[in-house]
Symmetry: D2
Subunit: 358 residues, 4 copies
């Protein structure tokens, strides 16, 4: 009810405030008897860490995942998998001085309106710190999906208005990580990098767009009529901090096409029938066609900027605000594993749901 | 589980195949003792009907809403409100000849993959016929929201690639309906109209973009962290047939802004504090700020076109397909009340959820 | 949320007031492609009707089930199965004079406290009329379960304090129905019958106990830790009007046994291992053992009696109440198919859930 | 889905295996801004510990509750309250030798059938160890309920077949704890105590019955038609390890009453109207009347006994089993706070749900 749980069969419930004792989650519905690779899991979690993608904040947190239940000797038991990640680098003093100030475009204001109380330290639970639990759960889901031949990869499509060319083939995560900005178009990456350096000097910030591709999917995943694959993917992506838009397949551009341009013709494919093109983005009527599902997620620029801003405190006093501390010019490259995680949780949920039709 | 229900507190479950006996729904969680205006309700349902917006198919169905339970003398009882809309104009023969053919970009293929069986008549439950139940439930929600000072209105922003200027003020539904295309920019509307006539001759189809604005909202609606207002709105909108994209506030354009451009500064507003600008689109951290929530939904062009297309039947035989029968060049104007309905169901659900914090 | 839905995968949502237009339900999650036997279904619904078991009220309602969706040519489509049963025999005038009177042990009082409004005609939605929808849905579930080798049967164990001997073998529904009181112990039945006649003259009423047995179950059904098989069965049974108690296996008597008496020893059974005795009632740790599940449900005497009672109206005026109209001395025999229905819905839900572990 | 969560608005999800790293839970939906008394909370948790009630096992675990999130300075934040209790006294070697043996009436067998894998150490997640998380969450709920004037207390009604007289007035928890067996009838307690000592020598075990009373309830709690107060209470109680039966109000005895005996007459009470007697057990039509809710829960004797039993291992070999280690003759007195906890979680959930009708 309170929105801390995602999924129907595979359910992740996250908990934790940014500067509380720990952040963590409980993953339910994961099939019993699956062998998890804890090294790969930790590696995926590390991809979210500051420093994993360059130009990012220097906060040095290890983000070591500790499992409390649901696993015995790397094998899942079918019981809830609880895990925690300690919040090692909590420096509440950084935030104490901003306690009463409504930072522009931050959630302090709305949380206070909602609950009448909130943990102001680092945004409390509204902080992107919460997403580490999603990446942990998503990494488990991704391992399961890979055992079923399904792969998920995301990368930076645009940053600060600089668009990159679409890669000719679906990249691997390793290929994506060869780029410090997780952008596969070298020319665009160079421009983005220069822009970041310039904007850093202005103490300003940048947003961007992440593309994600899911390949190896069977046909038949997705539930009519409210839980269409694209509806759940949209909810998953729009639940990520700073996300402002979602589109799949032809997306917003499809709105300007004619039916004859947009339609994918069916024909023989392999030993069966499939759409021969994939403008649809791998989904028809909310259900996968068996072709790749691909989508884009737009992220706004980081709200915390060092540049001077006007605002008020909760007494109504006008404030000249210059936010100090560790803040990224852009978090878009770091959001890549978060997008992958939410995609993995969504897809695996539908994969398990489809067992009910067997 | 099976995706036929939307909402947490206010829950609509829809049922019905396009050419079955009836389409309908059960609305749960609607507060007891509320007086429904059945004339206004029927009027909103009529706005979805063919012919309500011009250029649309001539299928003449009355779509009369019949209530079975949950209401006594126009007053809600707090019990489930069940309603049906008869499927009067069922002509299965139209569809019998296409029984085995996979129509390009239709859901027949994926439903068959999912269930191994499907009602091929008019798309069965994958048909947009299902959305009539959403409009009925949404109309009830809208009446409740209006009693709380909350208004929802949608209109056509773009059609076939022709963009309209944003209206200077939020229009009323009546103002929207003065336009046969539900587009408030007269110049753009004229171009759209001409384009529709041209495309009709080609037996092709068009998509478009709908804008929606929710005004009069209190601050505090939306649930962290997975049920952010924008996540639920995105799911609601992307569950509508043919939707390909969702964005709110600055949307995809926000990805190209700097933080200093995008941030909304807080200041005195009325007798309180509020963001003085609203690039955010009325939501911070997934929770409403008290400012208007606004968003766009992109729709692909109609898949059923008369223009000749290649496809295969379910035996793999190549087919030259020319889809006959009643088909719109565009359904975007008719989708306006569907967008409003899904917005109303989403917003009212959050409004009721927020009672738990009182 | 509002309690009108039962089940997780197989979900029945019921709607309808006793004297409204119709009573009905929506059954979701039923597997696609299953052939329903509509004659058997109607026959099971008829078993709940007045007159099906003797000594019961003469209200002559046909209770014909009308399907609106989810079925094509007797085959399930995997989509929601909506059905209605018209309320033909509505005589609101019977109830108009009792509009303001709080009938002893009736729910009028509590519904008014809860909602501030209620449909006083025949108890509105608090009436046992609602259970007809459960029997419809349960009959579909029972057909599915029988196709999987699982059988459910219930019968009257005690009535008005008269206990019957347990049948030596599990009876069939047909055998149960050879008794007008659905009691298989002829000696006990005769005493019950005499008691009913005597109590009818006193214008008083009787309660009783129903036993139910589920056979043919696989091991492994039930979900730890809150959704144990017995927890869900208890909820299912205690949701039936007038139910006051639930016990399974050894039940309340088990509380007086020693461990060495109660424990079921494991041993070779068929080509596998199983508990050799079944004091447990077919469930260990909330999960089925593969042995029969059996349980008892206690029902209070009917609250509506002709005998004079004191009460007050909603203005606080003292009233001498003699409830007229059609009222049974006991509804226990008629509750037999309701118990079976709720058992079937519970068991099938778990059977589908267990697919997730395959 | 997987049954690890209880509640609709107030939701507790528990995790943890008996001999894993930790047992714990996540409590969602708890209102923000409530001040928790952590000393009282720990005291209630201690009431479940071995040794709290006499005659019980000597396993000395502190069961210290550690909060990870959702609370700042004893105030709830409205965010998920995660907590853990370390499993300090894990001695897996005790269990290693029984790894392959199906202990009579234990859940090892069914868990293996369900999941194909299970944590055999101490019963893994099927162990009553899990209930510590329920008591933690229940203690929080109880503090909230007490702030609303609602009190919950449970005590031992029967043990090993020895019935106690019902206390003349509702006891306090402190009064209950003056009895080492949590039985308020001194004469019965003495007999129970003697029986326990005798049965301990036989290396056998005993079951019993717990009574629970909820007082101070408002009218109007409970949700028709499937989530009746008694249905949810029954599910709550039957989800406790070893529970075999549930009855409320008149219970099974009501099945032998006449309507005129059972009915509670309405009349003036305080400044309003209420049932003047309470055979109903405080609930009509699934909704509270404002009178006390009271119910009984039957528990089977402990399954782990030292007395020699026959069984088989998972290879089918016959085994003479004498279970060693720490085992109670009876766990019924220790189950008292578990019954209270589940009652508190159920009642508070309905109290919050009823906010939706305001």
């Amino acid at each position: 009810m309170s929105g801390n749980t995602f999924g129907k069969i595979l359910k992740i419930t996250t908990f934790g405030e940014s500067h509380g004792k720990a952040t963590g989650g409980v993953l339910e519905g994961f099939p019993a008897g699956f062998t998890l690779n804890s090294i790969e899991l930790q590696a995926q979690v590390n991809r979210r860490s500051p420093g994993a993608a360059s130009h990012s904040t220097k906060r040095k947190e290890a983000d070591i995942v500790e499992f409390l239940s649901g696993i015995a000797g790397n094998k899942t038991l079918g019981t809830p998998i609880a895990f925690i990640v300690a919040n090692k680098d909590a420096r509440p003093s950084d935030y104490e001085k901003m306690k009463d100030i409504y930072r522009p475009s931050h959630a302090d204001f709305t949380w206070e309106k909602k609950y009448g109380i909130y943990d102001h330290r680092g945004g409390g639970r509204s902080s992107a710190r919460e997403t580490v639990s999603r990446v942990v759960a998503g990494a488990m889901a991704m391992q399961y999906l890979e055992s079923q031949g399904i792969k998920i990869v995301a990368y930076v499509k645009a940053l600060g208005g600089i668009e990159s060319r679409q890669p000719a083939t679906i990249p691997t995560k390793a290929e994506v990580d060869t780029s410090p900005l997780r952008c596969l178009d070298k020319a665009a990456e160079a421009k983005m990098s220069a822009l970041i350096e310039a904007v850093k000097k202005e103490k300003d910030s940048l947003g961007g767009i992440i593309s994600c591709v899911v390949s190896g999917l069977p046909a038949g995943l997705g539930e009519p009529v409210f839980d269409k694959m694209q509806a759940r993917l949209a909810a998953a992506m729009m639940s990520i901090n700073a996300a402002k838009g979602f589109e799949y397949g032809g997306g917003f551009a499809a709105a300007a096409m004619k039916g004859s341009e947009h339609n994918d013709v069916f024909g023989a494919a392999g030993d069966g029938i499939a759409p021969l093109t994939n403008t649809a983005g791998g989904i028809l009527g909310g259900i996968t066609t068996g072709r790749d599902v691909f989508f884009n997620v737009a992220f706004k620029p980081v709200s915390s900027i060092g540049k001077k801003q006007k605002t008020v405190d909760n007494h109504g006093n006008t404030i000249d605000l210059e936010i100090g501390g560790r803040h990224d010019v852009t978090v878009v490259p770091r959001a890549v594993p978060i997008v992958e995680a939410m995609a993995a949780l969504t897809i695996m949920d539908f994969l398990l749901l489809q067992k009910l039709n067997k």
